[in-house]
């Protein structure tokens, strides 16, 4: 299925939660959705017969200035099509529903997004840091991140 067909299908089932389709000529177009309903949308993507996105390729967090973005790359083993779904959450309350119960692959991706960007995934069974030390402060991949001078008495910037 092309991205337009998927968009239309999602629009029928979730009308207002599906915001827009952003066309990118030199890359992958993506669909922006309402973060409040992300779990249902992705569950629909996984379970709907003609979509069958059983393979969660990637969850990435990104800092887009005023908002934090969460990008889901989905792939279907059966139909060999893929889709990019984006949801933006405000920086003050960066909460979004976890999809660990849909794809177990989401577990470590979500932990990483939490660790580096600071998106909080509600319902994640074990949302702790994964790459940084467990007691690290701040989320390094945010654009306004300031590297701390010291960590446990060790100098951080070389």
């Amino acid at each position: 299925m092309t991205i337009q067909e998927i968009y239309d299908l999602l629009k029928i089932h979730f009308n207002d939660d599906i915001k827009e389709i952003t066309d990118i000529s030199n890359g992958d177009s993506f669909i922006t959705v309402n973060p409040a309903n992300i779990f249902d949308i992705l569950q629909f993507c996984r379970d709907y017969e003609t979509l069958d996105f059983d393979y969660l390729t990637l969850i990435s967090g990104m800092d887009s200035g005023e908002n934090l973005g969460v990008v889901y790359h989905l792939y279907s083993m059966k139909f060999k099509h893929s889709i990019v779904i984006k949801a933006f959450v405000p920086k003050e309350s960066p909460n979004i529903q976890s999809v660990v119960y849909l794809w177990r692959a989401a577990d470590w991706h979500e932990r990483e997004a939490f660790d580096l960007i600071g998106v909080v995934f509600d319902g994640h069974p074990n949302l702790i840091r994964i790459l940084c030390p467990y007691d690290w402060e701040g989320h390094p991949l945010r654009k306004d991140y300031v590297t701390p001078q010291e960590y446990h008495g060790m100098k951080v910037p070389y």
Partner: protein, 393 residues
């Protein structure tokens, strides 16, 4: 599937307070300095006698802020960083990154470059699989296969060194082409290399792969069912060992892979040679067969690679990348490696996100190694074939 998840979600729970634990269980810290964790992986293992009851992987000991560095470097400067993700298959790492940049910038690449890139990737894949198989043997206590296969790996590194000037971290591909022209004896070297690899693999099947002790150690260990593998988004030999026919070189042919004729070795249930589909032996067997397939690709590459034409002409003097975003994936030696690249039109990317294959594949370890013995845990970890540079980035 839901029930299955319920059972496995408690795996990664961190309990810092050790006093809570049952006094009859032993907490063993395997790593970060352990001979068989393939790097600085730390596994907190709970043992009941010799049986593993819980595993908590702790990552990040080799975290080098790859994604943060990328945001502060321009597109050509990122290629060496990409090399250092999965440092035993560096060429395969550069592949999807370079394709992503080319797609964003709209650069067309000549056919000769495409074929050369595929050949380099396959030489690198053979080198990686030789290391993976022999290191897997080393995990089971067989030291000699390691040195046997290192000899063949040396040939592969030699060819790539002659091409790029580096032995391990090549920095060879760049958007638009490759950095240096092909040297004159390239085809001859590849031919010799294929022959020696085939001979060595034949020897290896006698020495290690079909050794009774080795089979006993690896068959029916670390079973990964097909559905679980898909749900965990496993790829590469881990997925194909579980019977999933998923290889990006076939499912979405990139570069010049549609010109080559090769098979995807899959261990499907009911068609196993030894053991059952999804066990450690099957994952290793996929790698053994893939070496043969890579040899086939290289053989065809020798005839397909045109002699005339330059491979460095297509490189733009100044790389201009318009705003946009792309996810480009390629079949790395360990599975699907993808780069999610967001460009804002400047000379530095807005965001580079790597779908690190080992990182995703490693996530299955706690689920598939519980209830086996500690020695089996090492074998399961070896059969997943992780590289910590990629896991921790």
């Amino acid at each position: 599937m839901e029930n299955n998840l319920e059972n496995t979600t408690n795996n990664n729970k961190i309990n810092i307070e050790y006093s809570q634990f049952d006094s009859e269980r032993m907490r063993l810290n395997a790593g970060p300095q352990h001979p068989s964790t393939h790097g600085v992986l730390r596994l907190e293992v709970e043992l009941d006698g010799e049986i593993v009851t819980d595993i908590i992987p702790h990552l990040g000991y080799l975290h080098r802020c790859f994604e943060k560095h990328c945001e502060n470097s321009n597109y050509n400067q990122i290629v060496p960083f990409v090399d250092r993700l999965d440092y035993v298959s560096a060429i395969n790492n550069e592949f999807p990154y370079v394709m992503a940049v080319e797609k964003l910038a709209g650069i067309e690449v000549s056919e000769k470059v495409q074929i050369l890139r595929a050949m380099c990737a396959e030489i690198n894949r053979i080198a990686n699989h030789l290391l993976a198989i022999s290191a897997f043997g080393l995990d089971s206590g067989a030291f000699t296969p390691l040195l046997f296969l290192f000899r063949e790996r040396e040939f592969a590194l030699g060819i790539l060194e002659k091409l790029s000037g580096a032995r391990l971290l090549y920095n060879y591909f760049c958007p638009g082409g490759v950095r240096y022209e092909i040297y004159s004896d390239f085809k001859k070297d590849v031919k010799v290399f294929i022959d020696s690899v085939r001979l060595a693999m034949k020897e290896m099947e006698d020495l290690l792969i079909f050794n009774d002790i080795f089979i006993k150690r690896t068959e029916k260990i670390g079973l990964l069912p097909k559905e679980v593998a898909i749900n965990f988004a496993c790829s590469g030999p881990v997925a194909r060992g579980s019977g999933i026919n998923f290889d990006i070189r076939k499912s979405a042919p990139y570069s010049s892979y549609d010109k080559f004729d090769f098979d995807i070795p899959v261990v499907e249930p009911g068609k196993e040679v030894v053991g059952v589909s999804g066990d450690c032996w099957s994952r290793n067997w996929v790698r053994v067969k893939e070496i043969e397939e890579s040899c086939k690709i290289l053989e065809q590459g020798i005839t397909l690679l045109p002699d005339e034409g330059s491979v460095t002409d297509g490189i733009p003097k100044k790389l201009k990348v318009p705003a946009g975003e792309v996810y480009c994936k390629a079949e790395n030696t360990k599975g699907e490696l993808g780069f999610y690249l967001v460009s804002n039109g400047s000379d530095k990317p807005e965001r580079v996100r790597a779908r690190a294959t080992s990182f995703v594949n490693l996530a299955i370890l706690p689920s598939i190694s519980k209830g086996y013995m500690f020695a089996d845990l090492i074998m399961i970890l070896g059969s997943i074939d992780i590289v910590l540079g990629e896991v921790d980035r």
